[in-house]
């Protein structure tokens, strides 16, 4: 049984809600400084070119420009990147992707700067454009970055068992290919940052819409050639990120900083929506080839997986994103023989990086579609196939990690989702109801014939489908995994709290305040959560990988426990007793019920201060060890996992191909729910983004140039697109972090597209292989644009 909590698990309103609902919350673009200048970017309208020269003469003569800024103004590193330093802050040799920036004009008036930027003359030579990932590794492929011998960014192999033997022992072998598109984060707040030079030799202060202030600090310090302590980054209220305001913002911060130091004045960069979509990185498009062998009964015997990810112009987070794919590519199923290769390559397409899901939505779409096909061949239900193959306690993953030390809830989430959605009877009913799939357009003779007309009573088909996943929590073997928290209790019992992880809108400040308040038995409104500031708190790694509640939560609990231990001593002395086990922290009071003693929390704090007991502390949480062998892809990838199952109930219009979502049942096991209101919000939001991924969203660049530069063409879900979302939480007894609270943000998104694909199959009898499952895909099984981006549908 769960221990009895005071606040944990209850609905708690957000600390920042009042400011946000009254318009007082300050986002990056709401900060302005006296004497502030603006920057306008200089780009060229091609995705691959050699830069010969930049001529500012005419722009400068216009009198509207205070300064120009390009790579010659950079005192330190001219190129940056999380692994490979392949991305220039200002391009000076080549442009390799459409958003690339060559230089900036700095001036007083933004509008005038935009006019002046048209007068900058760039002499460049266009180079052959590589947009097809399949051709990136060809012998004669254009090398995007000549400093490397080919276009390979990274290759992760995984080898388990004997793949040939596995296929030999299989009764059936199924091979399929899937594709997924570029996806835009589409946070509603476009990027903004202000760099303020500090007096004398104090360095620079930067305020911005920055997801990971400590990472931004590293990048800016390297670019400026300054020690980390001379770069202070403060996070403004962040208007959505979803993984998107990381690398782009680090580079924008560096550009603003270079300009600020050059002009000795504050410099602001803020992007229009068009610039935001043009320059910011996207979710990776994948081409996914699966070959799977299984027995008559549906037991998986062998999986050969070949995943190819489009890294675009820069390596960025590709090495991390694709690593999660290699770990999770087989899905939550035990397979004896696995042979996986995941590669990311350079192209001239928009570059790709972190995006909620992080290398999982793509393989899940493929492999969960595949599981339903296997079930069909084996003649069993989608539930049965997952029961036969799904992870249980003691199961061995593709990387030979034995699953133990956490609750393996896979079958639990599947059963619960099935029960809640009446899955089997709905699935069977719709399946029986199947008619011919919509596909009435003959390409050579696009005239609709009478037999193609659909009777109105037959026009809307209902379908139900499910998808399930396991997901490694936090960074796993991809990085150092630890976090810090700072707590400072005041003499009136109010508390400052801060962790090295950032509030990106998800509700971290509130979640962390609840954890500290729970430990100290106080109400959460006594806690004032501070702004993320690299000058105050220790680097805790990035706010990514759904790791905050787990890692940061662990650090907060540690910090609050340190304080509690100190207060215990003070209380024992005050009560004149010796056994602190009998002290109860509850309702802002510390009591000893045995002796009927009690003291207000605030009084105890004053007493502690008067006794010279320190009331501030830094907490630290480090995850258990993990490991990975790069050669064989074997190891304990993550120290704990979460499991999820989503069921999609859809109606498909057979004459237009339009899919309407009636309901998504989302069952997740986040360990312990800290704030039920925030947890529900994560599910509603994640499922909605997942539905956008499944049905509507795609960046369809042509010759590397993005066409969907604003919300008129890039379609994200509105309030009218999904009828119901039903979140269900399975809580458990794990003990990592804060009372076993684990990941939730990303699991909610990664499953939806696969569940939708399976539901559409159930409704129409048609298996679809290429996201998004928009009207043309459902009706014609192909994409009508763009012409130069060849997608491969399965035969």
């Amino acid at each position: 049984m769960k221990e009895k909590f005071n606040i944990v698990g209850k609905p708690v309103i957000r600390q920042d809600a009042f400011n946000k609902v009254t318009g007082q919350a300050k986002f990056a673009d709401d900060y302005n400084y006296p004497n502030q200048l603006y920057a306008a970017m200089i780009r060229i309208p091609v995705s691959h070119a050699k830069i010969k020269s930049i001529d500012y003469t005419e722009a400068i003569e216009s009198g509207l420009v205070a300064a120009t800024c390009d790579s010659s103004d950079i005192p330190g590193a001219k190129k940056v990147g999380p692994i490979r330093k392949d991305q220039p802050v200002f391009c000076d040799e080549k442009v390799v992707t459409s958003g690339d920036v060559l230089a900036m004009l700095i001036g007083e008036n933004e509008y005038e700067l935009k006019q002046a930027s048209k007068k900058v003359k760039v002499d460049f030579e266009e180079l052959p454009i590589l947009t097809d990932i399949e051709k990136a590794m060809d012998e004669d492929a254009q090398i995007i970055h000549p400093e490397f011998e080919n276009n390979l960014i990274v290759h992760y192999p995984l080898r388990k068992g004997n793949i040939d033997k596995g296929f030999e022992e299989s009764d059936h072998i199924l091979e399929q290919t899937y594709t997924t598109p570029h996806i835009e984060h589409a946070y509603i707040e476009p990027e903004a940052v202000v760099a303020v030079p500090l007096e004398g030799n104090r360095g620079i202060k930067i305020i911005g819409s920055i997801q990971n202030p400590h990472t931004a600090r590293k990048v800016v310090a390297a670019v400026l050639g300054l020690p980390l302590t001379k770069v202070r980054i403060i996070q403004a209220e962040l208007g959505g990120s979803f993984g998107g305001k990381d690398d782009t913002m680090n580079i924008l911060s560096a550009r603003a900083a270079v300009a600020a130091l050059k002009t000795k004045r504050p410099v602001k960069i803020h992007y229009s929506r068009e610039e935001s979509i043009l320059e910011s990185y996207k979710r990776h498009p994948y081409r996914l080839k699966y070959k799977v062998g299984f027995s008559k009964a549906g037991k998986l015997k062998a999986m050969k997986i070949d995943l190819l990810a489009d890294g675009g112009g820069y390596s960025c987070m590709s090495p991390f994103v694709t690593w999660r794919s290699v770990v999770q590519a087989t899905g939550p199923y035990e397979v004896e023989n696995v042979w996986t290769d995941v590669r990311a390559v350079y192209t001239n397409n928009p570059y790709t990086g972190a995006f909620r899901g992080f290398g999982s939505p793509q393989p899940i779409f493929a492999q969960e579609s595949l599981m339903d096909e296997i079930a069909e061949i084996a003649g069993i239900s989608p539930i049965e196939i997952r029961k036969i193959n799904g992870f249980q306690k003691g199961s061995v993953t593709a990387s030979r990690q034995v699953l133990r030390d956490h609750e393996i809830n896979l079958l639990k989430v599947v059963e619960r989702a099935a029960e809640e959605s009446n899955f089997l009877s709905e699935w069977n009913k719709n399946k029986k109801d199947q008619s011919n799939a919509p596909s009435f357009v003959d390409e050579l003779n696009p005239i609709v014939k009478p037999e193609h007309f659909i009777h109105p009573s037959n026009n809307v088909k209902r379908g139900i489908g499910l998808a399930t996943s396991f997901r490694g929590c936090s960074l796993g073997a991809e990085g150092v995994d630890a976090a810090a928290a700072y707590i400072s209790v005041q003499t009136d019992g109010s508390i400052y709290l801060l962790s090295g992880l950032a509030e990106n809108g998800q509700g971290l400040k509130t979640t962390f305040s609840i954890i500290a308040a729970e430990v100290l038995g106080i109400s959460e409104d006594r806690i004032h959560y501070l702004e993320q500031d690299t000058g105050i708190i220790a680097d805790s790694g990035p706010t990514v990988a759904s790791r905050s509640t787990l890692m940061g939560g662990g650090a907060i609990k540690d910090a609050a426990t340190i304080i509690k231990n100190r207060l215990n001593e003070v209380a024992l002395k005050h009560f004149n007793i010796t056994d602190y086990d009998v002290l109860v922290y509850r309702n802002n009071t510390i009591s000893n019920t045995e002796n009927n003693l009690k003291i207000e929390f605030s009084e105890l704090c004053q007493l502690a201060f008067n006794s010279a007991v320190s009331l501030s502390a830094v907490g630290w949480y480090k995850g258990p060890n993990v490991g990975w062998d790069e050669e064989t892809g074997q190891g304990d990838a993550y120290f704990t996992y979460v499991y999820g199952c989503q069921v999609a109930d859809v109606s498909v219009d057979m004459s237009t191909g339009e899919v309407y979502i009636n309901k998504i049942v989302a069952v997740h096991d986040p360990g312990t729910v800290i704030n039920i209101m925030g947890a529900l919000g994560q599910v509603y939001g994640g499922v909605t983004q997942g539905a956008g991924y499944g049905l509507w969203e795609a960046i369809e660049s042509e010759k590397g140039m993005i066409k969907e530069l604003n919300y008129d063409l890039y379609i994200i879900p509105t309030s009218k697109d999904i009828d119901k979302i039903e979140p269900i939480f399975i809580e458990g007894e794990d003990d990592h972090g804060a009372w076993g609270a684990k990941s939730l943000g990303e699991p909610t998104l990664e499953l939806t597209s696969a569940a939708l694909a399976n539901a559409i199959k159930n409704a129409t009898g048609k298996r679809l292989f290429n996201l998004p499952l928009n009207l043309e895909e459902v009706l014609l099984s192909k994409k009508l644009r763009p012409k130069d981006f060849v997608r491969e549908s399965s035969k």
């Binding site: 309103i13 939001g685 309030s719």
Partner: protein, 156 residues
């Protein structure tokens, strides 16, 4: 040119350029930063304000056009320190995550409940369909508006 209008119940004047947008007038000259710019083409609704009681995208209105109009921004929705029930319920229902779309959402909801005190769920969805939110999935926002409608009816 010089324009006169009512801004959050106060009569004000401003010197504006013929190309100046209302959103810039509000943010830059009146320092009303609650009105947000998300797309500049009237698709996202983050800059929604009330112009003579109608919810409009302030990125698509020229400053000149508001001569004599009554403008209410997010800063004018609360009655002094007293939050409007819509604001209260956005907070209580968990309708806020990053908060960037929130001012526009609140203003659109405010217009809806002024015009239609008894909206059904479809009407609520329709009223905020021009306000994009990437965080919440809209569910808790719709709940907040629903509860607000009930409370406002009960208080009459």
């Amino acid at each position: 040119m010089k324009i006169k209008f009512t801004l959050n119940k106060k009569k004000v004047t401003a010197e504006v350029e013929s190309t100046e947008r209302l959103i810039d007038l509000l943010r830059n000259k009146f320092q009303l930063m609650g009105t947000k710019e998300g797309c500049s083409i009237g698709e996202c609704g983050a800059c929604t304000i009330l112009m003579d009681g109608k919810a409009v995208n302030s990125c698509l209105v020229l400053a000149e056009q508001i001569e004599g109009a009554e403008i209410i921004t997010i800063e004018g929705i609360a009655d002094g320190e007293q939050l409007h029930p819509i604001q209260e319920n956005f907070i209580k229902a968990g309708a806020i995550q990053c908060g960037f779309c929130t001012p526009g959402m609140v203003v659109s909801s405010y217009e809806l409940l002024n015009e239609n005190p008894e909206p059904n769920e479809e009407e609520i969805k329709e009223a905020i369909a021009g306000n994009l939110c990437r965080c919440t999935g809209y569910k808790q926002i719709i709940d907040a508006v629903k509860i607000s409608a009930e409370q406002l009816r009960d208080s009459k």
